[in-house]
Point group: C2
Chain length 137, copies 2
């Protein structure tokens, strides 16, 4: 039997411009930058619970040497998909907020709850999802 | 001021073989498949708290029509990075479990807590991280 996992802590996006993406996720979601490493990466604080890592595309294809050890290489491309949970009572506020910020909702899906889909500056597919779609939320 | 986000709920990987990846994440982490859509995707239950989505590479480049609406296209490639939180007291158990399952630890990093890095069958860079590195855990 496997040892337990607490949950998903870090998720990563690979982006073409770190400042542009950090500005977007800061302005739209209120995620502050809590760690920054030059023009390679930014770590954003997701609601005090998780970490959204932004890596510049192509900048982590070699091992990263740190004082605590070596982080192995990784990289990605494409238009990745991920989702943030929101409260059912926040759905209208999110629709308004996205509109006021010029972020078009590309699609809305009913799956128990409601999902709003839109794009970040690199075309990554962001979803906001209310409870009811998955048994875990 | 932006409306609140509860946290990260779904993270996605793009893989070459859905069954192979579902078997890996089921056997190593104990994440059961809670939803499956043919040869396009699997949704895994991460510790009853979040969702790890596995998409076959290239299979979601067109909109996906569902009864509740249309999921916009997305896709990804490369060796993505993400992390699961584990308890400090589970670190030794995880080292043993990975060894017993033939999963080599590629690197170990000290950053307040301890991080173990290893690869999934597609070469995605998985991290297990104990508390102390990030202010959120």
């Amino acid at each position: 039997m496997n040892p337990p996992v607490v949950g998903l802590l870090e998720s990563a996006l690979y982006v073409s411009n770190l400042d542009r993406s950090a500005e977007f996720y800061g302005r739209i979601f209120g995620f502050p930058v809590m760690f920054s490493e030059g023009d390679r990466m930014r770590a954003l604080n997701v609601a005090g619970r998780q970490v959204l890592l932004l890596f510049r595309i192509g900048a982590s294809t070699q091992p990263t040497q740190g004082s605590g050890g070596t982080i192995p290489p990784h990289d990605g491309s494409g238009n990745l998909h991920f989702a943030f949970a929101i409260g059912e009572d926040q759905l209208e506020r999110w629709r308004d907020w996205l509109a006021r910020n010029g972020v078009p909702i590309e699609s809305e899906v009913k799956c128990g709850g409601t999902s709003l889909y839109f794009r970040d500056p690199d075309g990554h597919l962001v979803e906001l999802i209310t409870p009811g779609c998955w048994p875990v939320y």
